[in-house]
């Protein structure tokens, strides 16, 4: 039985929104193969030349390596502090907990410029020069919010009886944490890690203010956009988009496989 109607405009509207969402992506990918450069219609002289130029462009690949480094370390920081933060919000009482919760989650909704500038002031006062380290600290701090939300959501589904049983049977807190809590939160932690990594690879608003001599990929792209546009940017974006798609598929398969195995198996 259908309790709600499905007017044709609703389907049409959905199609339009999808077209709107995918138009720029399609243009981006298509014009990475366009011989004369970005723009012009119809696309012509399809070529891989821009990819060839891209592969010989050392500054871009340096910035890719910088971004990978920043994303990896920022991910570790965010997980290292975000996971206990979620545990603390779930199972500890302490003065200022409400303020703590708000502070941790604030960078999630705050425009990046505010997080970036406030950290810039901190580093200025502490006489720390801007470099990849300041960017890592910035990303790590801002993305703790993501780790905390993801792990906290996982904790809400966690069955505490298992932890209690483990403690009753004489395991230490440390053993219980590594053998019961973490394995149960595995999916949330992996999901958070993937998300944090991607967000950090993309991040520009915070990095904008904390950048030193070495560029991350988005800042390298930003610098080039200010000078003029070339299909090289389309090419590198297309490659990154393909990697993101692979990451989504991997994550999706991990999740469906985990959901297929019964929860109770220890």
């Amino acid at each position: 039985m259908k309790a709600t109607h499905n007017p044709r405009w609703l389907t049409f509207h959905a199609l339009l929104v999808f077209a709107f969402l995918y138009l720029p992506i399609a243009v981006l990918v298509l014009y990475s193969f366009n011989g004369p450069g970005v723009g012009g219609f119809p696309p012509r002289d399809l070529t891989l030349n821009w990819y060839r130029i891209l592969f010989n462009d050392a500054p871009i690949w340096d910035s890719v390596l910088n971004s990978l480094l920043v994303a990896t370390v920022a991910m570790l920081i965010a997980l290292l502090f975000g996971t206990p933060a979620a545990l603390a919000l779930d199972r500890a009482q302490f003065p200022g907990k409400a303020l703590f919760r708000r502070l941790v989650l604030l960078p999630l909704i705050l425009p990046g410029i505010i997080t970036g500038l406030s950290l810039l002031m901190l580093f200025r006062i502490a006489k720390v020069n801007s470099s990849l380290v300041t960017i890592i600290l910035g990303h790590g701090t801002a993305l703790i919010s993501v780790a905390t939300t993801e792990v906290f959501a996982g904790l809400q589904k966690l069955n505490r009886a298992q932890e209690e049983a483990s403690l009753d049977l004489g395991a230490t807190y440390w053993q219980t944490f590594w053998r019961i809590t973490v394995p149960n939160l595995k999916l949330s932690i992996i999901g958070a890690a993937l998300l944090i990594f991607t967000l950090s690879m993309d991040e520009i608003a915070v990095s904008f203010f904390l950048i030193g001599r070495d560029n991350t990929l988005p800042l390298e792209i930003w610098g080039r956009l200010r000078r003029g546009i070339t299909p090289e940017i389309n090419a590198i974006s297309t490659i990154i988009f393909m990697f993101s798609l692979i990451a989504i598929v991997v994550w999706y398969r991990l999740r469906t496989r985990a959901e297929a195995t019964p929860e109770s198996s220890i």
């Binding site: 309790a3 206990p84 199972r91 505010i114 807190y173 792209i221 798609l245 999706y252």
Partner: protein, 282 residues
């Protein structure tokens, strides 16, 4: 069941990190906003309200803030207009393809913000994809130059970026509506329109509020899309802050503007949380 040592171990490290890297920086921003800068560029650590006085008296600041809010409001409105019916379609009419469509909404989120703004620039420019297509199809004889470097371009790009963000909470709240409520309404003789406006829409309001807050706040603070696509008429409040921290070199005034933005954002979040609680179904 958890010992004191365990609770300390999970609480103290994040507490310390968050205090040093979030609390202290916000506090510093607060302090800076009361300081000033000397002619030689040194920060004068004497406390006064001059920066706030300047913000209130010089029209350029509050006019730009109002323009930013107007841009953010339009972005929020259009994201809703695109996101809500899409979420409704997925939740109630997509059938077995629901998961696939859901992933299709998420995928654009994985394309870098900067790259999507850049893609719009290549579409809207004078010799961009849109203009050359229009000329190719003989729909226009000369390029339309009002497309790029205008508030329109900023609103369009930010709408593109925030539509999936508004979609997500709305979809989540629609998915939480017990389907038997909808069926009951139908069985009791309500028309589909009545069912939507009396049952479905009120129950989705928390999602609408969360999505709207997100779109409004994040587009209000944006400075990259205006720099890339906005032109002189598309300047937003964050662009002023960026220049105050850069070439104009007046950190204290920039801090005062940032703090006003922060306060505005916090008020909005608290307000929307309160409303969400009022409308939540339980």
């Amino acid at each position: 069941m958890f010992s004191r040592a365990y609770r300390a171990a999970i609480t103290v490290p994040p507490l310390v990190w968050v205090s040093v890297f979030l609390f202290v920086p916000y506090l510093l921003m607060f302090c800076y906003s009361f300081w000033s800068v000397s002619d030689s560029g040194a920060i004068i650590h004497s406390w006064n309200l001059d920066n706030y006085h300047e913000l209130l008296t010089k029209p350029v600041y509050w006019q730009t803030l109002l323009r930013s809010m107007w841009i953010a409001a339009r972005v929020t409105f259009f994201s809703m207009l695109l996101g809500y019916p899409l979420a409704y379609f997925l939740s109630f009419h997509a059938g077995g393809k629901k998961d696939l469509y859901y992933q299709l909404v998420i995928i654009p989120l994985w394309v870098s913000y900067l790259v999507r703004a850049y893609a719009w620039k290549t579409i809207l420019g004078t010799d961009g994809v849109l203009n050359t297509s229009l000329q190719y199809l003989h729909l226009a004889s000369h390029p339309l130059d009002f497309l790029l470097y205008s508030p329109f371009a900023v609103v369009l790009t930010l709408t593109h970026i925030y539509t999936p963000f508004t979609f997500l909470p709305i979809y989540a709240s629609l998915e939480h509506i017990p389907r038997n409520l909808v069926e009951a309404s139908h069985d009791l003789g309500a028309t589909p329109q009545q069912t939507f406006w009396r049952i479905i829409f009120p129950l989705s309001i928390p999602g609408v509020l969360a999505g709207a807050t997100f779109a409004f706040v994040l587009s209000l603070g944006d400075f990259l899309a205006p720099l890339l696509l906005g032109g002189p008429s598309g300047i937003m409040i964050s662009n002023i802050v960026v220049s105050l921290f850069g070439a104009a070199y007046n950190w204290p005034l920039g801090a005062a503007i940032s703090l006003c933005m922060l306060a505005l954002v916090l008020v909005l979040i608290l307000f929307s949380e309160r409303l969400e609680k009022k409308w939540s179904f339980s």
